[in-house]
């Protein structure tokens, strides 16, 4: 029978199954960071338990780390959390890329870089954006701290099999449209609870044409559509990205692994519990105007009117969102002035993102009323960018060039947007206060963020790009 990749991976990982119970699933890779792990390690200690497979764990520090003056963490509670992860990793034998390690970075950026992320693996992390790793055809999902403790102790999780959903993007992406616009458009069209109880597979011509980094941007925000996980069947693009990475098999062993990985792809004619489609023609450079990721539109649009909605609950939600965002119904999106630009996060801080943004900013200046920062997704991304001279391009334009970490995506460290100010941000969440108490977030792609930095307001990046001349 034809099967989806979701069913194939699930079946390969069942340790125990019994009617009326969730399945006991084996976990191949457990990523850890400093914020959601301390209570899990403490639980192990209190119960005299060990980490069953430290060799299948990998830890880093990202949420709470400073992006400048790395040596001195001023906040004693932050410092303690970072020290605690170090001590826990030493005590339990878990590999760690600590704050000054050359592999350090945002956990969802370094997993793929190091080749730890591989097709067909089950991957978990105490972080909802674990869905990022699904780009490789892995079954990757975020878990809570109790589940972190459970995986540390048993290398398994009890999981009820979710339903499957296909999201198909037909056609070819238009000029100036990036992966971020695709996922924001999907969430805007179908809502933040589209995927609840489902694992999503992204399919279609537009997805196939994307690079691995762009696929990661899409899968990363699956959780913003409520999905348990989001993935993409592996293909030659996947294989070529992985070849030669540190933790993948090498030589002939790689070719054997690659053949297995490709065989995981969803079979022709396999059925999903639900399918949603969107045509690439519907997608233009996107911005959000509200307080959840579904509240967004193409840059040429305006803030909606209450009368656009039939459901009184939706009208109320609009009212609350606009009150927080200090916006009026009907305001053109390109009129919204911003004071901050953040290029970073597990959504959009890979080398391709920085290259794309640097092309827009090259030779231009950041608007005098804007503070703009670039926070590379990992030490490795930072090194690569500096080798190419991207740091110079950003610095000369007036951007700050920082150390790696989650930074202003959630503002757990010192990088926060002040109350009452707006940020064009390449991150994933525009929730109230996400980037700092009272701050206002507009989610955009890296190139849209770069264009906003130049003009001081949200703007259509296509004005900064040269449209390719169609070949006859």
């Amino acid at each position: 029978m034809a099967k989806t990749i979701i069913e194939k991976i699930w079946e390969q990982h069942i340790v125990f199954e019994e009617a009326g119970k969730p399945d006991l699933l084996y976990i191949d890779l457990h990523l850890l960071h400093e914020v959601t792990s301390p209570q899990a390690f403490e639980g192990l200690r209190l119960n005299g338990r060990k980490v069953r497979r430290p060799d299948l764990c990998f830890a880093t520090m990202d949420h709470n780390v400073p992006t400048r003056n790395r040596e001195t963490i001023k906040d004693p509670i932050s410092r303690k959390q970072i020290k605690t992860l170090q001590e826990n990793c030493e005590e339990f034998g878990v590999p760690l890329a600590g704050i000054n390690h050359p592999d350090q970075g945002i956990v969802h950026v370094i997993g793929p870089e190091l080749g730890l992320t591989q097709p067909g693996k089950t991957i978990v992390c105490g972080d909802s954006h674990t869905s990022t790793h699904g780009a490789f055809g892995a079954l990757a999902f975020g878990i809570g701290t109790s589940e972190v403790e459970h995986v540390l102790s048993t290398q398994t999780l009890w999981q009820s099999k979710p339903k499957t959903m296909q999201i198909r993007i037909d056609g070819e992406l238009g000029f100036g449209v990036s992966a971020k616009d695709v996922i924001l458009a999907i969430i805007s069209k179908y809502g933040v609870d589209l995927g609840t109880g489902h694992i999503v597979e992204y399919t279609g011509e537009a997805i196939r044409s994307l690079s691995m980094e762009e696929r990661m941007t899409i899968c990363n925000m699956s959780i913003e559509a409520g999905a348990r996980a989001g993935l993409i069947s592996p293909d030659e693009t996947t294989i070529e990205y992985l070849r030669g990475r540190r933790h993948v098999p090498q030589g002939e062993a790689f070719d054997r692994a690659a053949a297995k990985w490709l065989a995981l792809a969803t079979d022709e004619g396999a059925a999903y519990d639900a399918t949603r489609t969107i045509h690439a023609d519907e997608i233009s450079p996107f911005v959000t105007w509200g307080t959840n990721p579904s509240m967004g539109s193409g840059i040429a649009e305006h803030v909606p009117y209450a009368t656009d909605y039939e459901d009184p609950a939706d009208r109320e939600a609009l009212k609350q969102a606009l009150a927080y965002m200090q916006l009026e119904e009907g305001a053109p999106l390109s009129s919204i002035e911003i004071q901050h630009v953040f290029i970073g996060s597990c959504t959009n801080a890979r080398i391709g993102d920085l290259r794309a943004a640097s092309e827009i900013i090259a030779g231009k200046k950041v608007h005098p009323s804007v503070t703009a920062i670039v926070v590379p997704g990992s030490e490795s991304v930072k090194r690569a960018a500096e080798a190419e001279g991207l740091d110079r391009i950003f610095l000369e334009a007036g951007f700050e060039w920082r150390e790696t970490g989650c930074s202003m995506c959630l503002a757990m460290n010192d990088d926060a947007v002040p109350a009452g100010e707006r940020c064009a941000s390449t991150s994933n969440r525009n929730f109230e206060g996400r980037q700092g108490a009272g701050s206002m977030t507009h989610l955009v792609s890296p190139v849209m963020a770069a264009a906003a930095a130049i003009e001081g307001h949200l703007t259509d990046v296509r004005n900064y790009m040269k449209e390719p001349v169609p070949t006859a």
């Binding site: 398994t156 933040v192 609870d193 609840t196 969440r429």
Partner: protein
């Protein structure tokens, strides 16, 4: 974790949908390395002005709802971040039961693993409860064994729950202790993988 079966309490109506875990517990409170002590930070920025004084209009500051153990909210409750600090804050504040039409998946799991009962009712039923809870101080009887919510006016709502989660909540299981009993299956799986 503490077993849960019957809870009788006044309900707290929170008439909002898509309440995300950033609102439930804001990031500045995620730096603690303990599981306890998060209750005073629950819904912090909806509850308090920047100077720390309470925002009177917010439902948690309404004196009628003090001591309530049941929070009723709208659809997609607990969306966003996987932070378990959200259910820890809810529990530490004193809630044992949440009622909503739907929940984000990770949040739902996190509740169950901490002895919080997340009840799903129909949207219409939740609307009705919230309306009643806003009109008067409204008491609910929760019975997990029978899977019912009964209002003080005799209104009764049935809810469904996965039997595995139900058992876990009723007995207050330590899930890890339970899984360790399957150790031979886990070892067998690992051996099979090594040979493959």
């Amino acid at each position: 974790m503490e077993p849960i079966n019957k809870i009788t309490s006044v309900m707290t109506p929170l008439d909002r949908k898509n309440v995300d875990t950033d609102q439930i517990i804001s990031k500045e409170f995620l730096k603690r390395i303990e599981r306890t002590g998060f209750g005073k930070y629950l819904f912090y920025h909806w509850r308090f002005h920047p100077d720390g004084s309470p925002i009177q209009e917010f439902v948690l500051n309404d004196p009628r709802f003090q001591g309530s153990e049941i929070l009723v909210a709208q659809e997609n409750f607990g969306c966003g971040s996987s932070r378990e600090h959200a259910p820890w804050a809810i529990l530490d504040y004193g809630f044992r039961v949440v009622i909503a039409p739907s929940y984000a998946d990770i949040f739902y799991n996190n509740c169950v693993k901490n002895g919080i009962l997340p009840i799903r009712l129909e949207e219409q039923e939740v609307d009705e409860l919230i309306r009643k809870g806003q009109q008067e101080v409204f008491q609910l009887d929760i019975n997990l064994e029978e899977q019912t919510v009964t209002g003080q006016d005799g209104s009764r709502y049935a809810f469904s729950i996965d039997p595995y989660w139900k058992e876990m909540l009723l007995k207050g299981w330590d899930e890890i202790a339970l899984t360790i009993q399957y150790d031979s299956y886990i070892s067998a799986y690992e051996q099979k993988q090594q040979q493959a």
